[in-house]
């Protein structure tokens, strides 16, 4: 089985995909920030850094048109977007925390309503995952049931090796096809040792205990102490690989315009602002509560999955230092106490 690829050949693979007219999306530097973006050249790839934004963008864009309108005289003409025009894409260098979020999102986008935009992009995208070798004290993938070498979500999974190159494991037909079509670039493994995996420095917590507490504590003074300081921006949701709320807006003029689907965040005051002026989540702690509840309770209730992969982006980027891992650890502790009390 040919399952080794050198860095040079890997770059050659990507360049060949680019030349075939495929969109190759990989971490690259844009004005000083590492982001998943289409590559013009494989050499631009910055594969050793976790991008600021997650890979969900490849299926769930920041902003996409879903319809256009034109008015003339008394006529209004509507035009749908043709999803077959979406580009064939290869998403490269996706770490387990980003890749694992994609199947989690599949659940919500193919549930009662099949989101053709998401699903069509999903269909047209091949994901090349990458085992993770770097972690800091914001990472907590191991606490939410993943590992730095978890291939979940990837079509082809790479493990970086000492001295360069990657060990490759195909995870799906798409992955197999990719390897099969580029056989000449892959070689037999030859006693290479994988690089040591990342070791997230965050403590553990029991997701079941957390959920059990959440089930009982929609109203709890703890929410105030957790999130009084939340300023209500969307940074956490927008950098999150699993957050998937969106807003539909019509933008344009009296004569023509577009209906668009934009990322939205439950932290925003406007998120639940009713046309009447009423806002059921009238205070920031209630909005932040929804973030935790959605990730660790509601999504679990509905789809049996946790809506968090422990990438730690929200911890690093929260303007006011709200630390989701810390909160979950605290909840974990509270739950233990409750049990002790019950036993005594």
């Amino acid at each position: 089985m040919q399952n080794y690829i050198s860095q040079q050949n890997f770059n050659a693979l990507l360049d060949s995909l680019i030349s075939q007219g495929k969109r190759v999306v990989a971490p690259r530097t844009n004005a000083g920030t590492v982001l998943y973006e289409p590559l013009a050249n494989a050499a631009d790839m910055v594969i050793d850094q976790l991008p600021r934004r997650s890979g969900k963008e490849a299926f769930f864009p920041l902003c996409e048109d879903i319809m256009t309108y034109q008015k003339e005289g008394q006529k209004i003409e509507l035009q749908d977007i043709d999803p077959t025009r979406f580009l064939e894409t290869v998403l490269v260098g996706v770490r387990p925390c980003d890749a694992a979020a994609i199947p989690v999102l599949d659940a919500v986008f193919s549930w009662d309503y099949k989101d053709e935009f998401f699903l069509e992009r999903r269909k047209k995208t091949t994901i090349i995952g990458l085992a993770c070798t770097q972690a800091d004290d914001a990472c907590f993938c191991t606490a939410v049931g993943l590992t730095p070498a978890d291939p979940k979500g990837a079509d082809l999974f790479l493990t970086p090796l000492e001295g360069g190159g990657y060990a490759c494991e195909t995870q799906s037909e798409k992955g197999e096809a990719l390897v099969a079509n580029n056989k000449e670039l892959f070689a037999e493994p030859n006693g290479y040792k994988p690089l040591p995996l990342a070791e997230p420095q965050t403590g553990k917590f029991d997701l079941k205990k957390v959920k059990a507490w959440l089930d009982e504590h929609f109203e709890d003074p703890a929410w105030d102490s957790i999130a009084t300081r939340c300023v209500g921006c969307g940074a956490c949701a927008f950098v999150c690989p699993a957050c998937h709320c969106f807003d539909i807006v019509d933008e344009g003029t009296e004569k023509q315009g577009k209906r668009r689907k934009n990322w939205d965040a439950c932290g925003f005051w406007k998120f639940t602002h009713h046309a009447s002026g009423h806002n059921p989540r009238d205070q920031q702690p209630k909005r932040y509560r929804n973030r935790i509840m959605h990730k660790f309770k509601y999504y679990d209730d509905k789809f049996g999955q946790t809506l968090c992969t422990g990438c730690g982006r929200c911890i690093r980027l929260c303007p006011v230092g709200i630390d989701i891992a810390d909160i979950l650890q605290d909840i974990d502790k509270i739950e233990v106490k409750v049990k002790v009390e019950e036993n005594s």
Partner: protein, 665 residues
């Protein structure tokens, strides 16, 4: 969806010559929301207007665009027509395809394309127009006049003669102001008191005028048509109702030697006094600072001698609140005192001229009192120092005025004329005396003014020396005046017996604090600012407040009187209707979005923005927001451009309307 009617005017051939009006009508007819479009030869003619009215009714039109001349020309016409057809007039807009299109372009293709865009833009705008009701404000038909000098008196009499109540407030014990102090007046040399006192008496006797002397404005609240003015009536210690003005108290008062301000401190008065014999009201006031009764508790002589028992030592200040609809400010002027540098002022002073140090260096007003038949010398020109008749007298012009380096750059306007008058009065009274005048240049515009000035030189033998005085000093009982005659180019030295300085006219002290109470603006000298230097010279920017006399800038008597009558006419115009109607182009605050930063209030030139408390049903304060008083708002919209959250909106020019126009292009 709106049903917009568009009417394209040919304006004879003025428009149709360069704009293909039929094509414009056809193209515009295709715009979303347009239900009817047509063209017509003369839209403003009666048949044109009837066409418009008929179409509104038959086509059930909701909004109208008339594409014709400038809205400055016929907007009113078409809005009236639209109103007559049952639509709110503000649902009609004009597209200017004549002045801005057909008249300035020759190429028919280009002009037609442009006209289509202009009309299209107005179609988008009119869609966002809202029904605007005419704003009415009730008017209290009473007015307040602040200041009882000649300007205030004239304004009060004019308004009262028209049948409206007037409250006249004067700070001093008597009305009359500076004009009552003058000896004779230029350019006719008639006696000031002779023409002044009958007017003062008219005020006192007028059934429509309530006179509050020895009183000051304490607080002004409200807005045009609806002011609430609080007036402090200072304790007079004399009951005005009981006092008959017999004057026995003043005769008996043992304290007699208090310098009388009215006589520029040359004459003396008792502690209970009227400032001058013809005072109105002729009710004395006790000067508590100098009265033995108030200082030591003893005396009480005036009370003992007062037949009607009018003396009341226990009297206290009282506050009266008067509702008024308009305010005339006529607080007048004061003279620049050169020996006393106003605190914190940029004015540097003229210490070198010895005013206040050399007793025979006096100012113009003091000379008036010397020359006045009712003055401290009975009309004889005598030196304050030794009572001798001065044989050589020097007048110096422009003391303070027109001297940027000293802090005042304006011309005081009256000094050239009153100095000419002084030289004449002097010559009439001291036949063998010689008057010299140091001047920069003589400014004598006005009816018969220059003739008067010439007379002082040609007939009354005043010697005019063009140049400024560099120094003066006391030498024995003479005052040596050193100056230059720039016309001849020599140094001049005159040994004078008396020197009269034409000091600058300044606003009354405290003019700024009164302006702050009234919410009107003032310039750096504290003169009150008119709304427009040329077109609204008697109105303040703050609606319902008018200016009369020298509080706005230096003025002579005829100017002050004319402006007072003009201010009165403005008040009467306001009072001519029961309700004030105004175009509803005013700013409105959307309280939900307002965060109370009051940037709007900071930029509002009209003082139309107020702070308003929003409370819940229990009365708890929720927030403080801005409120725009529609009666006061000028409608410029600066507040909206300044408001960060766009929570204040100018009706008729809303963001929605403007953005719709931009997006139409």
């Amino acid at each position: 969806m709106s049903r917009i009617g568009v009417f394209i005017c040919h304006c004879g051939e003025n428009i149709s010559r360069t704009v293909d009006v039929e094509r414009v009508a056809a193209q515009v007819g295709k715009l979303p929301g347009v239900a009817f479009s047509t063209d017509y030869k003369y839209m403003c003619s009666d048949p044109g207007q009837n066409l418009l009215k008929k179409a509104i009714q038959e086509q059930k039109l909701s909004h109208i665009v008339v594409a014709a001349c400038s809205p400055r020309m016929h907007e009113r016409t078409f809005r009236k027509a639209v109103e007559a057809a049952g639509l709110n007039p503000f649902l009609c807009e004009m597209a200017n395809i004549r002045e801005h299109c057909s008249w300035v372009h020759e190429d028919k293709e280009e002009a037609t394309a442009k006209a289509i865009e202009i009309v299209g833009m107005m179609v988008e705008r009119v869609k966002k127009n809202r029904v605007l009701p005419t704003i009415t404000v009730p008017v209290t038909k009473r007015s307040l006049v602040i200041g009882g000098g000649i300007a205030g008196i004239q304004a009060a009499l004019d308004i009262a003669d028209c049948g409206h109540e007037v409250i006249l407030v004067e700070r001093e014990p008597s009305i009359g102001g500076h004009m009552a102090q003058l000896s004779e007046t230029f350019p006719t040399l008639d006696c000031s008191q002779c023409i002044m006192t009958p007017k003062m008496v008219d005020v006192a006797n007028h059934p429509k005028i309530t006179l509050y002397t020895w009183s000051e404005v304490e607080l002004v609240e409200g807005y045009i048509g609806n002011f609430q003015v609080t007036i402090r009536r200072k304790a007079r210690s004399v009951d005005e109702d009981k006092c008959t003005g017999c004057g026995v108290c003043m005769e008996k008062c043992p304290i007699k030697k208090i310098p009388n301000k009215f006589d520029c401190n040359l004459g003396m008065r008792p502690a209970i006094y009227v400032p001058f014999p013809q005072a109105v009201p002729n009710t004395p006031v006790i000067d508590r600072a100098n009265c033995t009764k108030f200082k030591t508790g003893k005396c009480g002589l005036c009370q003992k001698v007062c037949g009607p028992g009018a003396i009341d030592y226990e009297q206290e200040d009282t506050l009266v609140v008067e509702p008024v609809g308009a305010i005339v400010v006529a607080t007048g002027f004061d003279l620049y005192t050169i020996d006393e540098k106003p605190k914190g002022s940029a004015i540097k002073g003229y210490g070198e001229f010895g005013h206040g140090k050399i007793p025979d260096v006096i100012d113009g007003m003091t000379f008036e009192r010397l020359a006045s038949a009712s003055g401290p010398t009975g009309g004889k020109i005598l030196r304050p120092s030794d009572g001798k008749e001065p044989k050589q007298i020097v007048f110096i012009q422009c003391i303070g005025s027109r001297a940027r380096e000293k802090g005042i750059s304006y011309c005081s306007k009256v000094c050239c004329m009153y100095t000419a008058k002084h030289t004449m009065l002097y010559h009439h009274k001291v036949h063998d005396g010689q008057a010299y005048v140091f001047f920069m240049d003589a400014r004598t515009p006005g009816k018969n003014y220059d003739e008067f000035w010439r007379r002082s030189i040609e007939e009354e033998e005043a010697v005019y020396i063009r140049g400024m005085v560099s120094r003066l000093y006391q030498k024995g009982d003479k005052i040596v005046v050193m100056g230059s005659d720039i016309a001849v180019g020599v140094q001049v030295e005159i040994e004078a017996d008396m020197v009269v300085l034409a000091t600058a006219v300044q606003p009354q002290k405290g003019a700024d604090s009164l302006a702050q109470k009234l919410g009107i603006s003032y310039d750096k000298y504290n003169f009150y600012s008119e709304a427009h230097a040329k077109l609204r010279p008697v109105e303040c920017a703050t609606a319902g407040i008018y200016l009369a006399g020298a509080c706005q800038g230096p003025k002579d008597i005829p100017d002050a009187v004319s402006q007072a009558s003009a201010a009165a006419a403005k008040v009467m115009t306001l009072f001519a209707k029961d309700k004030l109607e105004r175009e509803p182009i005013v700013a409105r605050v959307k309280e939900g979005g307002c965060v109370g930063c009051f940037a709007c209030k900071k930029v509002c030139a009209y003082g139309a923005v107020e702070e308003k408390e929003i409370r819940d049903r229990q009365g708890n304060l929720i927030k403080v927001v801005a409120y725009v008083n529609p009666g006061v708002c000028g409608g410029c919209g600066t507040c909206q451009a300044t408001c960060p959250s766009k929570s204040v909106e100018l009706d008729g020019y809303t963001d929605e309307q403007i953005v719709a126009m931009i997006e139409a292009l």
